[in-house]
Amino acid sequence: MRLKSIKDLEKRRKDAIKAKEKVRNTVLVCCGTGCLAGGSAAVAEEFRKKLSERGIDMDVELRVKTTGCHGFCERGPIVTFVPSGILYQKVKPKHVDEIIEKTIIGGDVIRKLVYRDPTDKKKYVEQYSEIPFYKHQTRIALRNIGQLDPASLDDYLARDGFKGLAKALSMKPGEIVDEVERSGLRGRGGGGFPTARKWRSAIEAVGGKKYIICNGDEGDPGAFMDRSIMEGDPFDVLEGMMIGAYAIGSDEGYIYVRQEYPLAVKHLRKAIDACREAGLLGENILGSGLNFDITIARGGGAFVCGESSALMMSVAGKVGEPRAKYIHSTERGLYDLPTVLNNVETWVDIPIIIEKGGDWLAQYGNEKSKGTKAFALVGRVNNTGLVEVPMGITLRELIFNIGGGIQKGRRFKGVQTGGPSGGCIPAELLDLPVDFDHLTEQGSMMGSGGMIVMDERTCMVDIARYFLNFLLEESCGKCVPCREGLKQLKILYDRIVEGFGTMEDLERIEWLSGDVQIGSLCALGKSAPNPVLSTIRFFRDEYEEHIHDKRCRTGVCKALTKLVIEDTCIGCGKCIPVCPTDAIAGELKKLHVLDREKCIVCGSCVEICPVDCIKPEPAKVAEEVPS
């Protein structure tokens, strides 16, 4: 049914809430990409099947909902229960019968499915909200994810959806921008540009037609904040864009979704269709006179198309290459017309800012970075997943309280923030507040919110080389410093990890990095040397070890490493079958022997050894290596 006015909207919301209240219990099965890969669709199916076999009325007694990502993907598939608030992890279809019997009918908790603290295995945490991973989070952008069915407009309405839009339509466009300004909101896609200032310059820009774009081309390896939002809360993205359209006077919007996110496209399409049907997109939205519609543009898989000007080229059907932004997109963007482009996470912050007021969001965060930020916490932490915290929280709180510390009790070494073109922050700076300015000061950046945690087994030279290689492959090739500079940097790194590096090479790396930073055309090239310069700054001793001693202390750089089995070996035999070249021999409970001729230093044995007795040693004597 088409909603013709705000009154119609409120009536539909009331009906939706009433229908929801009728249901006594709800089972929420996470169907984000992570949990789907873990088989959650089969779990949801099994629930529906078993419940109907038992004759339970699914509209009244118990409803099964497939939701978006809860963020705790590592523990998936995740099933939660409303109103009891219990969370079960790693649920398989075979558990469903037992869950219905014991938990839903009996009201008991099944211990084996409950979350256990990785540092204290005896501690069981039954409640969703009590799990440290969730307990220390403040979810604003992620507020709806995992709590509703992404395809259902009524679900969204029942959780206060479109309240922001309804309020915005009663305000003047200028008042909306003032409210956004009061919130202190800065772009969540990486640059941290004040959102209100961007909108204001688009309002002032000359030109009849204006565009709104949502950047959903989340390309950082390991980052999935935007994907989860688009998959799990698509209406929120649309609502944010509608408010933006009303504020700047636009009638056409695009959501640019990267090629690799089919589920996000599917859910956004469903949401757009539902909005069109309800009259929330199209002409004369809610009788306000606002005309606005949204089209989905799909990327082709290039990382550089996350850069705003390259993205607009791609939407316009041209080669996805950036242009110089001396004239801002807000004046000349898509099709050379004024365009406001914001990131997914920025857009979902808008409805709640309008609904609750800018001051409400500004209470979170610190002086210059307001509100919250979502991070994809990955790498060698115990709890990997999606987290949202107030800006200004320290890295220590993020990694140790929420992330649960480093896997297997190893030592923390560094954290790469801001994706591949961010920087590496060392252990000494664990108390650094996580916000736009503090991270930039240390040669890193907020970026889109990727956070890769590294432990003592990570070689910092190798990690810088890895990110450099990623950016080299993703460079569009338009400008010389990025295209040729990154290639030469990679060659210099190859020399170092293969044991041919000199101190002049290291100096050359620093020199060239400085010029690539200043000389490149777009943010990809300008920030590409960040991992290089930050690792040299904080881990210079490791570089010098590679160059002077021809030694990689972590054993990651194969050319510099040979593996040795120390006498602490207990002769368990676990390393023998995992060796791909049959280089290890030995009898049970006797010291094993490693044949260096056969060993390819793949590290499989190091990984599996229960007593950590296989150690890296320098493969070459420093003097033997030709310079």
């Binding site: 460079s475 338009k478 400008c479 030469q488 060659i491 000389g519």
Partner: protein
């Protein structure tokens, strides 16, 4: 009318022009390889990088490409500061590693103190620096869009569609004309022109018998600009003679 200060000289500018426009008009030399007045500025070669500051924002300094940066009243521009020279030297050093056999690059590199490249030279490539001029001139000026680029990043290359002789090429050779490092080869005989692996027939001037345009280009231009069929029957020189003769008659009358 805005004014900017370039290397200490106060210069008058037009609204909307770029710093490179102003420099060119006033005889200030700024190197550029991907720039050509016939096409839109692009900002790819990064050789025209200059240093800018503004008295209104003390302490602010930036390095931008002169070919794209629009003039702004009061802007202070340095076209040859030590940082600018270092940036250009690095770009040329990198380009020399890419094209060690290019005389154009080598000559320019020497001007910036780079005699030999400090980086690992490429041993299997041509002299293409991927400035994109050929592709842009074909698209923006000719309108044929016969060639493009393939791949991205360091393996990017100028290419015909599907690496076959480009069907949309009209053999005008504008691409070869704008190429700064002379990579695009044209073979010209009195009756034929070979470019991009295609052989084009030449159209001969009725008057002097000189071949002056490919038949494909003639047909293209007549169709595109709605010209009379005999428009290209005479070459430019002979056309001029005809016009001159007409005017002479007019003068004697």
């Amino acid at each position: 009318m805005p004014e900017i200060i370039v290397d200490g000289r106060r210069l008058k500018c037009e609204e909307g022009e770029t710093i490179l426009d102003v420099c060119h008009r006033n005889g200030i030399k700024v190197p550029a390889l991907c720039y050509h007045e016939a096409v839109e500025p692009w900002g790819g070669c990064r050789l025209c990088m200059i240093e800018i500051s503004h008295p209104k924002w003390p302490g602010w300094k930036n390095w931008v490409t002169a070919c794209l940066y629009p003039v702004q009243d009061g802007l202070v521009v340095g076209t040859n500061t030590s940082r600018v020279r270092r940036l250009r030297a690095t770009v040329l050093d990198l380009l020399l590693a890419r094209c060690p056999n290019s005389d154009v690059i080598r000559k320019l590199a020497v001007e910036y103190g780079v005699e030999e490249t400090s980086y690992q030279p490429r041993d299997d490539g041509d002299n293409c620096i991927l400035c994109g001029l050929c592709v842009r001139v074909c698209d923006e000026v000719i309108g044929a869009s016969a060639i493009g680029t393939a791949y991205r990043g360091v393996i990017k290359e100028v290419s015909e569609p599907l690496r076959e002789p480009p069907p949309d090429c009209i053999g005008c050779a504008a691409c070869a004309y704008v190429c700064p490092t002379d990579v695009i080869k044209v073979l010209q005989t009195p009756t034929h022109r070979v470019i991009w692996d295609r052989t084009f027939e030449m159209h001969v001037c009725k008057e002097c018998g000189k071949s002056h345009i490919t038949t494909d280009q003639r047909d293209w231009l007549i169709r595109k600009n709605d010209l009379p069929e005999d428009y290209y029957d005479l070459c430019d020189d002979c056309k001029r003679k005809v016009v001159a003769a007409t005017q002479k008659n007019l003068a004697t009358f």
